[in-house]
Amino acid sequence: MSSSTPLLTVDELSVVFHRRGADDVRAVDGVSFTLEEGRVTGLVGESGCGKSVTSLALMGLLPSRGLTVGGSARMRLPEGETDLLALSPRRMRDLRGAQLAMIFQDPLSSLNPVIPIGLQVTEILRRHRGLRGSAARKEAADLLHRVGIPDPTRRLREYPHQLSGGMRQRALIAMAVACRPKLMIADEPTTALDVTIQAQILELLRDLVVEEGTALLMITHDLGVVAGLCDDINVLYAGRAVEAAPRSPLFAEPTHPYTVGLLGSVPRLDAPRGEPLTPVRGSVNDNIAWADGCAFAPRCDHYTMECLRGAPELVHATGEHAHRCVNPVGHAKAADRAVQESPAAVGDEEARG
């Protein structure tokens, strides 16, 4: 971890959805991570693991009724450190688009179909930077040019359906960077795009992070995206981080069986001919509640009875590499020591015994 205070410190973030006549759903269950300027942090996991809900919670975009958000997300702002989760909706509106911005998954449905691209860019310039008329239009054209849209003045007059998929995502990125936010969240920004366009968009995001020193939170299920873009990675499972590490250690020595499973299910061109893929069996619906033990246990190849004795803690096995597993892959010794040192695991053991 860096020595200076991180830009954003998310601590024990939880989001619980209350359903009428049914059990609560803990979509995010105590997620902690930090974001730093000029770095890309990845949140990785299958659908339903809580990564999108995490991003919406940070943006203050979750519905106001029917759920409870817990924990804190302290962000370094010009007026001092502020907990985003504790801010009033009005104050969040002032910050959104200006200090923190978001890029969404499907660029076509994320753009208003009946409003020209130009207005969709200038409205944010007007809101946060007070730019109007020709000044706003000129700045909007510059922004489109900056994200690689050719002939920006003409594009400003066009509507979303007249742009290609990659062009639309570029336009959305232009809106996100319009006010030079310190923090950007990208929720699967390349999932809806062609492979060739995906690479261009990732490169564009990388450039923006490097040039502006923005902190980027990259939400994805695509380990290829993670490998190419992210500096730090958090692997989420059932609303909790199960492994957190910088890129190279995570890919070189994954310790959590779920991470290993994710890596094993990626097709590789350099794999020996005929070698089968090893998918993670079952689906995310097969998990058990963290309160009953490790949520991944029912799908895990390494699970023992110990996995069901209380929820495992996130432990730092080596330096910046942390995992939440009692039977980690490959690092048996380090993991054993970690489990013994974890008082919560012992306590749970007694409680269940």
């Binding site: 943006m59 002032d94 688009g97 200006a98 911005a101 449905s109 994320s110 409003i115």
Partner: protein
């Protein structure tokens, strides 16, 4: 945009031709033929035969159809059996009143329906939502003549808040320019006439507005609920735009698309629906005129009515299409 409008206007031609054929066939098929419909029951066979000749009914159908078209084009819709005056003239003296009534009904329906539908969607599941949805159900179910009657008894006769009948108070001194009482009053600056004409429009306007209001509330609510779930509304929120900008520019503008179509169709039906309301309030518009024409089997008048209402429908649809293309650029592209 201009090309879209021109193309859309050209598409009206086949519609209007089809309409004229239907009308022509209807005329041909009148019970006993036009010579029975147009002449009193005690007319002699000779009179009928001479009428057939004078109407050109002994000529081939194509010739008859063309001369029928020529007469319509010249504004000749025949002569009213009841009054003996040209049908077109009868309509022109009454149309402005019905037009003002239909417009006020639509203004009420839109001005109340859109905000109410929006609020019901925004506060889904609250008392307001249930009241709006339940109230609109009642509005759709209540027969217009019954509602008109209740309004008249309660607000005009019991409470005396509004006049109970006619278009203007008797004996009011006014300059008649075009037949549109409110418009004429505004143009000549006769404010007492404007106020009096508006007061006379309130109750019939409310009665006539009930069904379109209910439809608009329900459609707006459903449409807003759908749009609120759209990704682009979330994008607008993510940009930190003011709530009112998100509401008007991103939610309402998209939610309006289906509602505009409904408003167009409802406006057309208002002209036909005015028949009952006008009868209850003795409102001197097309409605009450048609009511008596039906009683007296005044076929030339009924034919003219069908022609006028159908033409109004066609042109309102044109307006709907044009406003739709203004609201939604994707329509223009097709």
């Amino acid at each position: 945009m201009l090309r879209f409008i021109v193309r859309r206007v050209l598409q009206l031609i086949p519609t209007l031709v089809g309409l004229s054929i239907l009308l022509f066939v209807w005329l041909q098929r009148l019970p006993g033929g036009p010579e029975y419909a147009l002449l009193p029951d005690d007319a002699t066979d000779e009179q009928r035969a001479s009428l057939r000749r004078s109407l050109g009914l002994d000529e081939p159908l194509t010739v008859q159809y063309l001369s029928f078209l020529r007469r319509i084009a010249q504004g000749d819709l025949g002569t009213s059996i009841a009054s003996g005056r040209p049908v077109l003239e009868e309509f022109l003296t009454r149309f402005p009143a019905t037009f003002e009534l239909a417009v006020s009904a639509m203004v009420i329906a839109v001005a109340v329906g859109l905000p109410l539908g929006y609020l019901a969607a925004r506060r889904r599941g609250t008392v307001l939502d249930f009241a709006a949805v339940g109230g609109s159900l009642v509005g759709i179910c209540t027969p217009v003549f019954f509602l008109a009657f209740i309004l008249k008894v309660v607000f005009a006769e019991r409470l005396g808040l509004f006049p109970s009948a006619f278009r203007l108070s008797p004996g009011l001194d006014r300059t008649n320019l075009s037949g549109f009482a409110v418009l004429d009053g505004l143009r000549t600056g006769e404010w007492d006439v404007v106020a009096d004409a508006l007061a006379h429009l309130v109750l019939p306007g409310l009665a006539l507005a009930s069904i379109p209001l209910a439809v608009i509330v329900r459609m707006t609510r459903a449409s807003v609920l759908e749009v609120l779930e759209e990704d682009y509304v979330r994008t607008a929120d993510a940009k930190g735009l003011h709530r009112n900008t998100v509401r008007t520019r991103h939610v309402m503008r998209n939610a309006m698309l289906p509602v505009v179509t409904a408003i167009g169709l409802l406006t057309g039906s208002l002209f036909a629906g005015a028949v009952l309301t006008e009868s209850v309030f003795a409102f001197p518009g097309i409605g009450s005129f048609i009511y008596s024409a039906t009683q007296e089997r005044d076929y030339p008048v009924l034919t003219g009515f069908i022609l006028i209402i159908a033409t109004v429908y066609v042109f309102i649809n044109l307006l709907v299409d044009i406003s739709y293309s203004l609201l939604d650029p994707r329509v223009r592209a097709q």
